[in-house]
Symmetry: C2
């Protein structure tokens, strides 16, 4: 593992433990027995370092989400679970996402594109589940509602957890989130009547 990778690795670890805002470049450097200037050589600004991490998270999520057609509800849950595992691995970024978007224009642009793609993918997944007979027929507003809800939840459940359930293990938090999504979809399963 070269210096650049070591920096990214250590930075992510510290960011996850204590939050991006509370980890200084000098501390990351100290752990790796480097000097500050050394980090700014690989990553001119702290934002660049964070941006690189966010790109990796995006790639990991894209890998999970590709191939949206013809899946079962169980597959769908499994994929969401994978996304959630990714978010746990990069939780430091997720809890500061609003903060980061304001400050880092590069990150804001790429995040928006990623998000648009993810919402489209989510939408087509739900449509596919409907066609496969796993979900009942959905009106347009219902579909929009589900996409918006799932998107909001998957973005902020980890922040919610940071606030109210720090004492839970990762697995328990995953379970809490699955519970949420499952209940959200329950009224729209095949056999349930439209409102």
């Amino acid at each position: 593992m070269n210096t650049r990778e070591k920096i990214l690795d250590q930075a992510l670890k510290l960011f996850n433990e204590r939050g991006i805002e509370y980890v200084g470049l000098r501390e990351i450097a100290a752990v790796l027995d480097l000097r500050v200037g050394n980090i700014t050589d690989y990553f001119p600004t702290k934002d660049d370092l964070v941006h690189e991490l966010s790109i990796r998270l995006g790639a990991a999520n894209a890998a999970v989400m590709k191939g949206a057609g013809g899946l079962s509800l169980a597959d769908f849950y499994a994929r969401l679970g994978q996304v959630m595992q990714n978010h746990l691995a990069y939780r430091g970024l997720l809890v500061s996402v609003v903060h980061l978007m304001r400050q880092n224009r590069h990150l804001a642009v790429s995040y928006k594109e990623t998000q648009a793609a993810r919402n489209a993918s989510l939408k087509s997944m739900l449509a596919s589940l409907q066609q496969a007979g796993e979900l009942r027929k959905l009106r347009k507003t219902e579909l929009d509602f589900l996409v918006l809800s799932i998107s909001l939840i998957s973005r902020f459940w980890i922040s919610e957890a940071a606030l109210s359930t720090q004492d839970l293990t990762d697995d328990e938090q995953v379970a809490r989130y699955r519970f949420l999504i499952k209940n959200l979809l329950a009224p729209y399963k095949k056999g349930m009547p439209a409102a």
Copy 2:
């Protein structure tokens, strides 16, 4: 308006516009033609200043939420709308809530108490709606699901809006949020069958 109130007022305005982390005490002071030390005299730390603002938000929300018994679904929506207006007025705090909880122990404690009280209030409101015949009979897990969802949404919808819909007006964002809550509750209205 005395100096203390002026400081709080100006700080909130700047926090809402640009985020707590990006507004320095010197800037708040400059706008009011004060010196930094003057602010730290009223509020020894920046956290104290933020804490005072959060107390006011909590009080505003508590005023909206008190008297939970015997209300209609329309009342319920109206109250949530009021809470949302409060959150808009203090949006600077809301988008940094995770950040703040980590740093400020005082705020973390009082926030947790407030949150617990609000969840209990929410729960009793839903139970009351059920008794009044506005909602169908809810299983325990369904009730928990609704409380958790509404709590998560009302805490983070404003962050979500900051990320994906900065171009919407406040009223449009309110509408988006109402749409979410309304659709969330739709399957649980009177006359809908249990799963």
